[in-house]
Amino acid sequence: MPSMGRDPALGKARRAVSGPVREDVPSRPHRCARAKHWWLLAFVLVFPASLVAAPARSAILYQVDPSYVSIRFVVGNMFGVFSTTGDFKQLSGSILLDLDAPQHSHVDVTVASASIETAWDTANKMLLSPAFLDPAQYPSVHFVSDRVVQLAPDHVILHGYLTLRGITRPQELDARLIDEQSQPGMGPVADFVVTGQFNRHDFGMTTDFPTVSWKVSLKINAHIFLTPKGSNAP
C-alpha cells in the first residue's frame, strides 16, 4: 500500500482510527482475484459493505512517514538566558489524520530515549544520565492520544498521555495543519505541527534547576503529502 495518500477505498474500509496504521490492510480490493477465488472476491466486496452500515464517516487517513517527522524539544538554560534544542532521532508509531473529521485523528508515537541529540556535548551527556532520560532504565518515551478536540478546520487539541521515565501523565498537545502548498511532483503538501509543553519535574527529572528550566517545550513537525480527493495516486 502506498505509505501516504488519500485513498477512498481505505477510507471506507476503515472505520476505526485507533491502532497503528502500518498494519497490512489492503489499500484497495485485490484486483487479481480470479474466478477460482470467487470467495475472496466476494469477501472483499462484502466486507467493506458490511461496515458501511455503521454511521457514515469519510475517514481519510494519513499515515505519516517517520522520516518526515522531527520531534524536537527546547529547554531554557541558566534562568533562560539561552536555550538548548534537541531532537529524538528514532521514532516509530502512527500519526493518523482525519482531515474531514479531525476529532477522529489518532496519534501514537514512541521515541527511543537514547536517540536524543543536541549540538552540545555536555547537554547530551546530561540527557542520557540517570537524572534525565535514563535510557538504560526507560528506553522509550511514548505519547498516545485519547481525545481530539477540534478548534478550527486546521487546528485541534490532542488530549492524551505522555509516558516519560515510566511515569504516565495526561498531556495536551496543540496541533495545526499549516503551510499547505503544492510541491512539484508531489502534489499538495502540508506540515502537521504539534506543540506542547510539560514540567520535567512531574516526570521525575528533579535536578539541575536553574541550569535547565523546569518547562520543556515540544515541537513535532510532520511533513505530509495530501493527495487530492478522489485520486488513487500515492
Binding site: A119, W120, T122, M126, T211
Partner: protein, 183 residues
C-alpha cells in the same frame, strides 16, 4: 599622531590602563584554568565562570584598544639611554607582539564562542547578551579553541618575560617599572 617631542613620562591614563589590562589578563587566565577543569556537576558555576572569563576578555580587548589610542595621541616616554641598541629593538618588538596578542586572544575567544555548537551566548557583565558573529561549526570551533589556547599561553608567557625584564631593569637602576607605576 604622537607629539614631536616624546613625553617624559607615561600619562596617568596610560599607567592605569596598563595595570588594569595586566590584571584582566592574569584574572582571565587564572579563571580559564579553573573553569575548564570544573565537572558538569557544577554547570551553573561553570557557566558563571565562563561568562566572567568572557567579560574579562572583552574588557582586555577594549582596554588594549584604548591604550593604542593613547599611545598614538600621547606617545610614550623614550627607553632609557642606557639601553643598548639591541635591547631597544627587542623592547619595541616585544611590546608590539604583546599588543597584537592582547587583541588577537580576545578576538579568537569571541570567535570560539560564536562558532560553538552549544550556542551559549556571551553575556557581557553577566547580563548583556552579545551576538554570535558566525554560524555554529564544530570544525571551526575545534580549530579556534586550539588557536585561542596557544595564543593565550603565548600572551601569558611573553607578558611574564616582559614583567621579569622590567624587574631586572629596575633592580639594575633603570627605573622603567617605577615610571609605569607612579609616573
Amino acid at each position: 599622531m604622537p607629539p614631536k617631542v616624546p613625553p617624559a613620562t607615561w600619562s596617568a591614563a596610560q599607567r592605569r590602563l596598563h595595570w588594569l589590562v595586566a590584571a584582566g589578563v592574569v584574572a582571565a587566565f587564572a579563571l580559564s584554568l579553573v573553569m575548564t577543569r570544573l565537572s558538569d556537576d557544577q554547570l551553573l558555576l561553570k557557566f558563571l565562570l565562563y561568562q566572567l572569563h568572557k567579560t574579562l576578555g572583552l574588557l582586555v580587548l577594549a582596554g588594549t584598544l584604548a591604550r593604542l589610542v593613547l599611545l598614538l595621541r600621547h606617545g610614550r616616554p623614550p627607553l632609557p639611554g642606557s639601553f643598548t641598541r639591541l635591547e631597544k629593538r627587542a623592547a619595541y618588538l616585544g611590546h608590539g607582539v604583546l599588543y597584537v596578542l592582547l587583541i588577537v586572544v580576545p578576538v579568537l575567544g569571541y570567535l570560539t564562542n560564536s562558532t560553538s555548537p552549544s550556542r551559549i551566548p556571551v553575556l557581557f557583565m553577566l547580563v548583556i547578551p552579545l551576538p554570535n558573529l558566525t554560524p555554529p561549526s564544530r570544525y571551526w570551533n575545534d580549530l579556534l579553541v586550539t588557536c585561542h589556547h596557544f595564543a593565550a599561553i603565548a600572551l601569558v608567557v611573553i607578558a611574564g618575560v616582559h614583567a621579569l625584564i622590567a624587574i631586572i631593569h629596575q633592580l639594575r637602576g633603570q627605573p622603567i617599572l617605577r615610571r609605569m607605576w607612579s609616573g
